[in-house]
């Protein structure tokens, strides 16, 4: 058990180092100017001003020192550097925005699980039935229909036509519960819709696999009711692999946040990322893709470890 955990932890640390190197390399080694945001439409900033800002942000040092400063600052002081445009530190705002994004994301994951797991189980229990066909169509639809289309359709129905839900005005649940619930219904549906398709697909294939197993046949043969066979024997093993896709779901939450926060005006990471990319404020983009990637690596590590604890078969895999 401990061998498995330590191997996975070492692998994750190695991946984290690579992720940090990549986020640094994309913005400092590829032909791109970290101060591109400052030289706006045509008019470049003066050489002196540029040198001044580079000095201030530490961009005039050799690359390896910059990398050291950047990683060191994040690890030691939680300092993610500053925006090239506003010169404000990135860290504090990032924490705020990460909370907002996870606010929507966690609700979306819950909705995705609540819809996806039962849908996957139902369609696995009766393959080729009407229900199964329906779930299959929905899950292919979920990965084919882009999330912004779903979002626009919801706005057209609930905001424009019926005028029951606001298309903007995000509030946190603990700040203003009523407003928060109203403003979060549509974003949660959009995020949950995509996730439920992924969850349903994974649940279905894993349940189909389990239902073929000998112990399910044994349970049926010894005369247990079908209900009991499913609930007690099949579900417990069938749902285990579904846990492994939490990392994947989190990745989809962040990718979806970019779109959903834009449509529904939510001040989260996704919206900030798009603004920063449009203004070419690359230091913000750099900090944010690092945080997102770290979150996903850690989520994957935790799911792998918990899966290893729950299912002894894969420990030495």
């Amino acid at each position: 058990m401990w061998t498995y955990v330590s191997v996975r932890v070492l692998q994750a640390i190695f991946v984290l180092i690579l992720v940090a190197l990549a986020s640094f390399a994309i913005f400092r080694i590829l032909p791109g100017d970290p101060l591109a945001a400052l030289s706006g439409e045509g008019e470049a900033i003066s050489e002196e001003r540029r040198a001044e800002i580079e000095e201030e942000l530490g961009l005039n040092k050799p690359l390896h020192e910059q990398l050291g400063d950047w990683v060191g600052g994040i690890l030691l002081d939680g300092d993610f550097g500053q925006s090239a445009l506003s010169r404000r530190p990135i860290g504090p705002e990032l924490v705020q925005r990460l909370q907002n994004t996870l606010h929507v994301g966690v609700l979306g994951i819950i909705v995705g699980m609540l819809i996806g797991v039962p849908a996957g189980v139902i369609s696995a229990l009766k393959p080729s039935s009407m229900g199964d066909r329906g779930v299959t169509i929905l899950s292919v639809g979920g990965v084919s229909i882009p999330d912004y289309l779903i979002g626009l359709m919801l706005i057209l129905i609930f905001t424009v036509t019926w005028n029951v839900l606001p298309a903007a005005g995000f509030a946190r649940i603990w700040d203003d519960p009523a407003q928060s619930i109203k403003s979060l219904i549509m974003p949660t549906i959009v995020v949950g819709w995509v996730l439920s398709a992924i969850v349903a697909r994974q649940t279905r294939s894993s349940m189909l696999e389990v239902l073929r197993q000998d112990y399910v046949r044994t349970a049926r043969a010894k005369g247990l009711r079908e209900r009991r066979v499913i609930m007690l024997h099949a579900l417990r093993n069938g749902l285990l692999p579904v846990v492994t896709i939490v990392g994947l779901l989190l990745a989809r939450v962040f990718a979806g946040a970019v779109i959903v926060e834009q449509i529904f005006n939510i001040p989260g990471m996704g919206r900030w990322l798009v603004q920063a990319a449009l203004q070419r404020d690359l230091l913000i983009v750099q900090a944010m893709i690092l945080v997102i990637a770290i979150a996903i690596v850690i989520a994957n590590l935790l799911t792998d470890i918990s899966y290893g604890i729950l299912d002894p078969r894969i420990r030495y895999g």
Binding site: I26, L30, S205, V297
Partner: protein, 314 residues
Amino acid sequence: MAEPATTTPAAAEPGALQERGGAGDQFRVFMRRFLRVRLVKPALFILLAFAIIAIFIDVFPLPGYEEQATDENGFYLSWLSPNWDHPFGTDKIGRDTFSRVLHATRLALAVGFGASLFGAVFGLPIGIAAGYARGAVDEVLMRIMDAVLAFPGLILALALVSVLGRDIGNIIIAVGIANIPWIARIARAMALSVREQDYVLAGRTIGAGNLRIMLRYVLPNSFQPVIVQVSLGAGFAIIAEAGLSFLGLGIRPPEPTWGGLVSEGRQVIITGDGWWLWVFPGACIALLVWSLNIIGDGLRDVLDPRLRGGLEGD
């Protein structure tokens, strides 16, 4: 249902004799099974229709995508809802949405397949080298792939585009990089199993080197699962490109893109007008990606019988 190749009607035809059991026959058997997978026919039809539009767009008698429709007095015909002259309506300056949507098809397909093939061209060698070499090489290459996977596709593309700039080549690269790890994982799995086969041992005995074994034995065996992933990857790439354009980070206007058109429609959605501006390009994205997903799943059902009984029944 797997009929032996010799009983296919084609084998009885004159001239088909020398092909018996050959590549042609195999292909026919494959196609027949493939077409029998549920929904594959409509999906192929949709893909073909979009391909024809993309190739022959300049031949169609359409107004230019920047051409503004005017009435007899020279006023721009803006905000027209769908009608016979403008099946998808017109936008705020009288441009024909139908023409703009069709003109965007070529870009969507180019980025979709370009990015997907980009992923295959880099993913195949990485995966084959990792699976064939095993050990430390495998570990390092696969952890690098894990690192790429840690960045969600759309976000990696967004970051790369913000650095590299927004021409079509950069967008293909930015979207395509996210496809590399998926292809590499598949190719690695194939390489791991092929390298243990007897025919590889036989090849080695007659003096085939590592490079030759990778190119002549492992690579051809990796093609089938990779084709599945290329089809699914193209769907992802089309969604990602449309997403970039929707966010204003795709190809710069005036050239129309589906994502850009949806975004133009989104700007007026609150007024309740102009639903046609985003519904039609949006439907095109969904239809094309849906057909690529169905084709990818169908190919997997036929090429990898172990997974049959999976999604589409058969």
